[in-house]
Symmetry: C2
Subunit: 219 residues, 2 copies
């Protein structure tokens, strides 16, 4: 299944920043690197254009999409909506075992917080958010969530936090776990919504956007 692998390979390059945002993507060059012909490569580029990772310019090739401040805002907003929905549905469907798994990740995350280990914190954090989405048992939701979060992952999990913000985020996560245990879908949706809004404000304040002044060659 060559085509699928190519999509994955290019997606990884884009998400890792191996192909920097805004950079042109010369077909020939990528073909050489991936050892494939242009046909599957071009199919992959069109697929990636659908979920916004690549921008296709007619007769002028493809380039890695840039995240503007507006893009970040829009993506985080949608993420808010999707996670809130996921929380609500998860409360209807999650089993005790799944809650226990999340609680374990939560406890480990709190430990990382106390130790000031941001990378460890983010790792557990991500596990928790993804577990809630998985618990919603809705493949359409999972797919959209994956697509949206992939685009903001670096912003979300790289931006440093002030101690105050970090403490607040931990408090919010305490509330998230609580709502989940109580199966309070409404409350969980609300707190997730707020949690993500805070994260968004933080990321945008940090100025993560990739739409700096373009150099001439970027045009």
């Amino acid at each position: 299944m060559l085509h699928t692998e190519v999509v994955g390979a290019i997606r990884a390059m884009l998400l890792e920043g191996e192909i920097p945002p805004g950079a042109r993507i010369p077909e020939r060059e990528l073909c050489d690197k991936l050892q494939i012909s242009r046909t599957p490569l071009r199919e992959a580029l069109k697929v990636l254009a659908v979920d916004g990772l690549v921008q296709l310019l007619p007769n002028r090739g493809a380039r890695a999409a840039k995240l503007t401040d507006k893009d970040l805002r829009d993506l985080f907003e949608v993420c808010q909506g999707l996670e809130a929905l996921a929380g609500e549905l998860a409360c209807e469907r999650i089993g005790d075992a799944q809650v226990a798994t999340i609680e374990a990740a939560h406890i480990e995350m709190a430990q990382h917080h106390r130790e000031g280990d941001l990378a460890g914190y983010y790792r557990c954090n991500r596990l928790i958010h993804e577990a809630i989405v998985a618990a919603a048992d809705n493949p359409v939701l999972s797919g959209l969530y994956e697509s949206v979060t992939a685009r903001i992952r670096r912003a979300r999990y790289v931006t440093p936090m002030t101690p105050e913000r970090w403490a607040l985020a931990m408090q919010e996560h305490d509330a998230i776990l609580n709502m989940l245990k109580r199966r309070d879908g409404f409350g969980l949706a609300h707190i997730l919504h707020t949690h993500l809004r805070h994260k968004r404000e933080e990321v945008i304040r940090a100025g993560f956007a990739e739409d700096g002044r373009m150099s001439e060659i970027d045009r």
Copy 2:
């Protein structure tokens, strides 16, 4: 821009049911019909597979995706989430003129309801929902909404309603307009959420799913 047009043409065929759900899509045949070669056709099929309209089977071609009851549930749930989010954002951003446009559509819709004109009702209904999403001023949200609603459009806007359900839907729309006028994002999100849940229950009760018993040749 051949590729884009091909995607549109095939999407239309799938949504209109011109290619029935579950049917195989022989490349050669479609190429002849659209007067194109296999390359852009195959690109289009892969693009359509991304948003779930087409199912790609390795070495065995493409087929029009079927909507199972589970798919309908999942899609409606996501739609609930997206519309609720749209409502909330719309209240922060919508202008008086846009509200006035929606109110006009609402009034016309109420008239259609009184006259028992279901088609006219649905037409206005759709305008209102789409206007709310547009007012959220979030292209990512609009894109996902379009993709999700396209797949359930026939179910949503074809299913007949009992007089009671129809009256309830109208009541809900009165509330929607009210919340919008008052810019009550929270309330609007809630009522939209409920409104869509009712619609979903209705559609699933009506048994719109396309996953009936497969005949042998469908395999």
